[in-house]
């Protein structure tokens, strides 16, 4: 099946499901905020759609879920989902989510934000939340640039990317996010592209149902800036590029999954391991040390 056919089938499936009752996503979206601000063929909407489906498949009551975003194009996700949602400051979605989760451990707390937000300005929080194994899921939409501000180079921009602050091509080495996430302790690490709607949904289900700091990277087209400046065409052309250049390698050592400007893209589930969460460690450790003097913390 071609990419276009696959997309058509997905749209048809949604349409069939909802009949004529309204938008298939209206239970999940703040319809009074639609239309959204994202560009035509931007990949963020796909991620929101897959996230909604993942929650639906898990069957978790939406009142028990909270979404936290930072600043940027993906930072706007929090404003469109019809669940408790927080649009925080640039780079600080993860520490806000940490406080929210520890304040009420019964909540399912999900951070959805962009690459610049999570691993550049927010990089320190990313590494420490993973190290502590705070029980949150982080979904990173990686579009390889700072899109909201007009397309500046980012910590994830492949070497040689043309962007407004790398007009002659980026000469820096970008982060390999799965490698970063694994090395600082994430219990689950997967990467998919915006093309892989079923697989990214499954990855989100895995990540949302696994205790600890779980991380899903979604490579997403930025048609207005990254694709245009780097001659990848529009968003659909970029999906075709993903189709032709993605290689699924589950369990691939994350050190091998760098993304170059025009190299193949390794996708798959790379890490799935068990570690006690921060809160489990706190409760078990303090119980051991303090005995009956300890007041177990459940929120």
């Amino acid at each position: 099946m071609s990419v276009t056919d696959e997309l058509k089938a997905a749209v048809q499936a949604q349409t069939n499901k909802s009949g004529d009752a309204g938008h298939p996503m209206e239970d999940f979206l703040r319809m009074d905020r639609i239309p959204h601000i994202w560009c035509p063929t931007c990949g963020i909407g796909v991620v929101v759609n897959c996230f909604a489906r993942a929650l639906e498949k898990i069957g978790i009551p939406l009142d028990d879920v909270a979404v936290v975003s930072g600043i940027g194009c993906t930072g706007r996700v929090a404003g469109y989902v019809k669940i408790d949602s927080f649009h925080t400051t640039h780079g600080r979605a993860i520490p806000f989510a940490t406080g929210l989760k520890l304040g009420n451990p019964k909540l399912k707390v999900v951070v959805i934000s962009g690459d610049g937000d999570l691993v550049s300005i927010g990089g320190n929080h990313f590494v420490h939340a993973a190290r502590r194994n705070v029980d949150i899921t982080v979904i990173c939409v990686n579009n390889f640039n700072y899109a909201m501000t007009g397309g500046q180079m980012a910590a994830t921009s492949p070497t040689d990317s043309i962007l407004t602050t790398s007009p002659y091509g980026n000469f820096e080495t970008p982060f390999n996010l799965p490698f970063l996430a694994e090395s600082v302790g994430a219990t689950y690490v997967a990467r998919w592209t915006a093309l892989h709607i079923h697989r990214q949904t499954e990855a989100m289900i895995d990540a949302l149902t696994k205790p600890g700091f779980t991380f899903v990277e979604i490579l997403a087209p930025c048609p207005t800036i990254f694709e245009r400046r780097n001659k990848f065409g529009d968003g659909l052309d970029r999906l075709n590029y993903y189709y032709e250049h993605s290689e699924i390698k589950h369990g691939e050592p994350t050190a091998n999954v760098d993304v170059g400007l025009r190299t193949k893209i390794i996708v798959g589930k790379f890490v799935d391991k068990d570690r006690p969460t921060w809160l489990d460690s706190m409760n078990s450790h303090l119980k051991r040390k303090l005995g009956d003097r300890f007041t177990p913390y459940e929120g």
């Binding site: 009074d32 909270a66 019809k82 408790d84 940490t98 909540l107 320190n124 007041t295």
Partner: protein
Amino acid sequence: MKADPKGVMTGAHYLDGDHACCEGALAAGCRFISGYPITPSTEVVERFASRIPIVGGVFIQMEDELASSIALQGAVWAGKKAMTVTSGPGFSLMMEHIGLAAMTECPCVFVNVQRGGPSTGLPTQPAQADMMQARWGSHGDYEIIALSPSSPQECFDFMIDAFNISEKYRVPVMFMMDECVGHMIERVSIPEADQIEITERNYTKLPPGEYLPFKPAENMVPEMCKVGDGHRIHVTGLTHDYRGYPAMNPEAQEEQVGRIVRKIRDQADDIVRYEEFDVEDADVVVISYGITHRVAVQAVRAARDKGIKVGMMRLIIVWPFPEKRIAELAEQGKALVMAELNYGQVFFEVDRCAKGKVPVILAGHGGGTVHETDYIVSKIEEAYQCR
């Protein structure tokens, strides 16, 4: 409601201000601190880390002050009473999140045990030079409330007030200690839990669908909810409407930002708190706060002994500022001396409110230690002579 006895260490204790501040927070119902070590505030979080496993709650040491100043806001929206603790350099890093707390009307407490600055400054020595930063440090227009204790007992007592006020006005409260007050050890008397009045968070009784998280209610302050209650709220640092939805236009700016300023300014008469003595017959009034208040008391007594009719005004809540009272004192022709551990911060507010009617003299000091009593006396004499 009354305090939860689990957090109240009833009895007479010998504590420094930092430890007393922690006990005040526990008595006030604080069950979450996200902190980062920094002299001279560290003892607050050290004590909390030791006490909270027994009381029941969370201490998390974050990776920096950027993180600690927003993690507490997550905990607040989860339903906890929460605070963070820092000193000058950390306070500078927290500025953006003080703005977030003001904009999203997140009730919480920021403790700043002030040390000499700027930059790394004097880590182990006192100053009161973050007062204007506490008021204006984040970008944009907003108002906060700031308290200043001058003893360990007040660190305990005023912390309870700080949490209560933050809930009443849905505002971040700055608790402006200094190194001397933080590290001086004195008797601290902690009452029974049923003697401590606690302001509960004003949770809405409206059902989901009707509740609007930023619609002003009593005293211009919107009701609160917590995550998981089914209201499915949206909270953003962007200018927003009653629903919390981004609304980036001048009307929404006036409605939301205008209100978070007005809810404090227009109700300042209810919020301001100060104490005075010997003011009635005074020709000169010394104004001070925090540790400097204790030196100023000595100076006022010494000047009285010299025959100068001098009184004392001590600010407990520094922001909002008691503008009307300062104007009254000036109207009555009383020369004013502002004593503070900086080169003039609250001084400019006193000067502004006096409107040129009386001399306003700064008894400033760059910090590192407290004022010499004689220096404040000399400023009292100067004010007396040029009134």
